[in-house]
Point group: C2
Chain length 397, copies 2
């Protein structure tokens, strides 16, 4: 057994989260490093979904909107996500896709910022949909979009800045941005900060309340393991909720949704972020998936500590197993700048990833030359990490 | 046995759709007349959902986006809905809520209508969310909203009309509006016609292509039985697709979604109506639910014929069983003006509906005084109808 394999064995033996892997459907034949794209299936989900389909829908039918708690699911599940992103209850609703929530948040942010502010600063390195949606929000609110790198943000803020849309973790490089400092800079300029938490929620502390974030959105199918296309969420800080003016004022956000009134009157609180009828099957699968976080010893702090240990160890194994110069990490070395993934630039990355997957090491390829490996501390162990780096070394040697 | 009960028996015996009820989970103890709110569970759905959760998500994980056809589900399932609303393939995508699709459609309609047209005519009797969303679309495109009854529409159309948003069937009264004539009037004024099919799709012929409808939206959890909050759909007529300029240009509608390009370039065709990652569990439950329409003898024409026979018979039974003056139907008598529901005004309607449900007759109450009974011909029979009217008569006598 190699030195690194021995080290992995020791790290796994000392890992307090090691037992959580049993809460997921994962065979020993696969090293699943794509949980930053689609989280693995929690074992409690299939039974819950079956109950939702067979009993709640099949037997109770329409009564389930009340009796099975369907109607209140968006805010109830929002309150389950809240502690994972450092938010008190009553500030998050679940529903719609991330893209739709980015639209709500950016338009609402511009409206909060008030007249005279007509520029939306957008992370130019963002996942593309955020930029596309910000462009649409700008077009529809009389603003212009200014794309800059997160590092450039403080330098471009000013009296005309309405809103700033930033990613907490870069989807490609895995770089973690400085949410407290950037939020403070946005506030100093009198603008509204909107954060996209897709690649950080469930992997590291976010501290929305602590750092005074205004609005935030995130998906739930990555580190929250909600399942394919599970609904996204929207955070609106409590003191801003009365000024949250949604561009999608559907009946679910009405103060009296069953009053069927012709005039719109927004509900108080986070409910204002709701739109239409929520997709109950996907939403209740997510609710069941969140039970994993209630187990003893599972916390965002413990997850973050293990995540850093996993990515550190992966970089160590890659340095040892992969011939020099064959790959180059584009993920920051400093812990305070690293999310829960490692991205390696590599010639023929698409082909290399294909062969990695054939060998049971599942990451993903991001155009044009990036091998992306996501580390979900709830179900990835150190032996997985060692194996992934070893197989990669074999393949590119 | 009463005369009407005997008649029901004969009608059920002659009903060619009677056997389809076995395709749904429905005990004989309940008369389910709320399928216009939440369709009953098709028997094929639970097994399909279990496969999606356990095998597609649980075992194949990320590979299912390709291998299980997740990525193409929105347009594939759109093509399954297409024949039910009289549309050729390639014009419908499934995803998001009805409210979100109304927003896409109304904004896109205003943009198609071109400059100088700044009025959105909206059905004032519509389900409220359509009106709220139309107001938002108007505010964000520099338009004003003009709410009128459908009958008033032709009289208010003019050079300034950009778009007209209409419901095919009124959710409260069950009135069926004249889609061909109203669409023709909208076109004669040079405006764009947007139809909401929530209460007609799956219950009666719509004829989108035949009547030249421009844009349409609808939900799938009523007469299409897709399950609670199953995703809605958007129809964009093929010759208008290149001009469909979405206010929600998410990455799923990009010409090259995995190119991750900073500039947005819309995909050709109906895909342009997609936004973010689709909610796969809800969407594939819907796909399984649509299998019911593939059975021998099931067609929209057969469903419509039975629907009219059911509502006719219900009105006959109500006239016989319910003391004169106790209820008043607000649903039109003429077949060409009737959807697939009967709405009865009734004193203490809320309390009456509660007691009906206790007696196994499930309809719903709509503020302030309407008892609403929906008739889904795929699983409602004539004996159900007779029983519902009889119980209602007992309760209000």
């Amino acid at each position: 057994m190699s030195e690194l394999a021995l080290k992995a064995e020791k790290l796994d033996a000392a890992d307090e989260l090691a037992g959580v892997r049993a809460q997921f459907v994962l065979g020993d034949d696969v090293v699943y490093l794509d949980g930053n794209s689609l989280g693995a299936l929690p074992v409690g989900v299939p039974g819950r979904v079956e109950d939702v389909v067979r009993r709640q829908w099949g037997e109770l039918r329409i009564r389930s909107w009340d009796e099975s708690g369907w109607w209140t699911a968006p805010e109830r599940i929002g309150d389950r996500i809240a502690p994972l992103v450092g938010a008190a209850a009553g500030q998050i609703v679940v529903g719609d896709s991330t893209s739709v929530n980015v639209f709500k948040a950016v338009v609402a942010a511009v409206r909060m910022a008030g007249p005279g502010r007509d520029e939306i600063v957008v992370d130019a390195t963002t996942f593309p949909t955020d930029g596309y949606i910000a462009e649409s929000a700008a077009r529809m609110t009389g603003c212009t979009v200014r794309p800059v790198t997160p590092a450039e943000v403080p330098g471009v803020l000013g009296d005309r800045t309405a809103a700033v849309l930033l990613n907490h973790v870069d989807y490609r490089t895995g770089r973690l941005h400085d949410l407290p400092a950037l939020t403070a800079a946005v506030h100093a300029a009198g603008a509204v900060a909107v954060w996209d938490l897709c690649h950080s929620a469930g992997a590291l502390p976010v501290g929305l309340d602590e750092h005074g974030v205004d609005l935030a959105v995130g998906c739930t199918y990555k580190y929250l393991n909600g399942g394919p296309g599970s609904p996204a969420y929207l955070y609106v800080r409590s003191d801003l909720q009365s000024r949250f003016d949604s561009p999608l004022p559907g009946w679910n956000s009405h103060a009296e949704p069953f009053g069927m009134r012709p005039a719109y009157e927004p509900a108080p609180g986070a409910l204002r972020g709701r739109v239409g009828t929520p997709d109950i099957l996907s939403m209740l699968a997510l609710e069941a998936a969140l039970d994993v976080w209630d187990a003893d010893g599972v916390s965002v702090g413990a997850v973050r500590a293990k995540s850093l240990a996993l990515t550190d160890f992966f970089l160590e194994c890659v340095a040892s197993y992969v011939p020099s110069g064959r790959v180059e990490s584009v993920t920051p070395v400093a812990h305070e700048e690293r999310g829960s993934q490692v991205a390696l630039r590599c010639a023929d990355a698409g082909d290399v990833m294909k062969r990695l997957i054939e060998r049971g090491v599942v990451g993903d390829f991001r155009h044009p030359d990036v091998l992306r490996f996501g580390f979900t501390p709830l179900y990835v162990g150190f032996a997985d990490v060692e194996r992934a780096a070893r197989v990669l070394g074999d393949l590119v040697r």
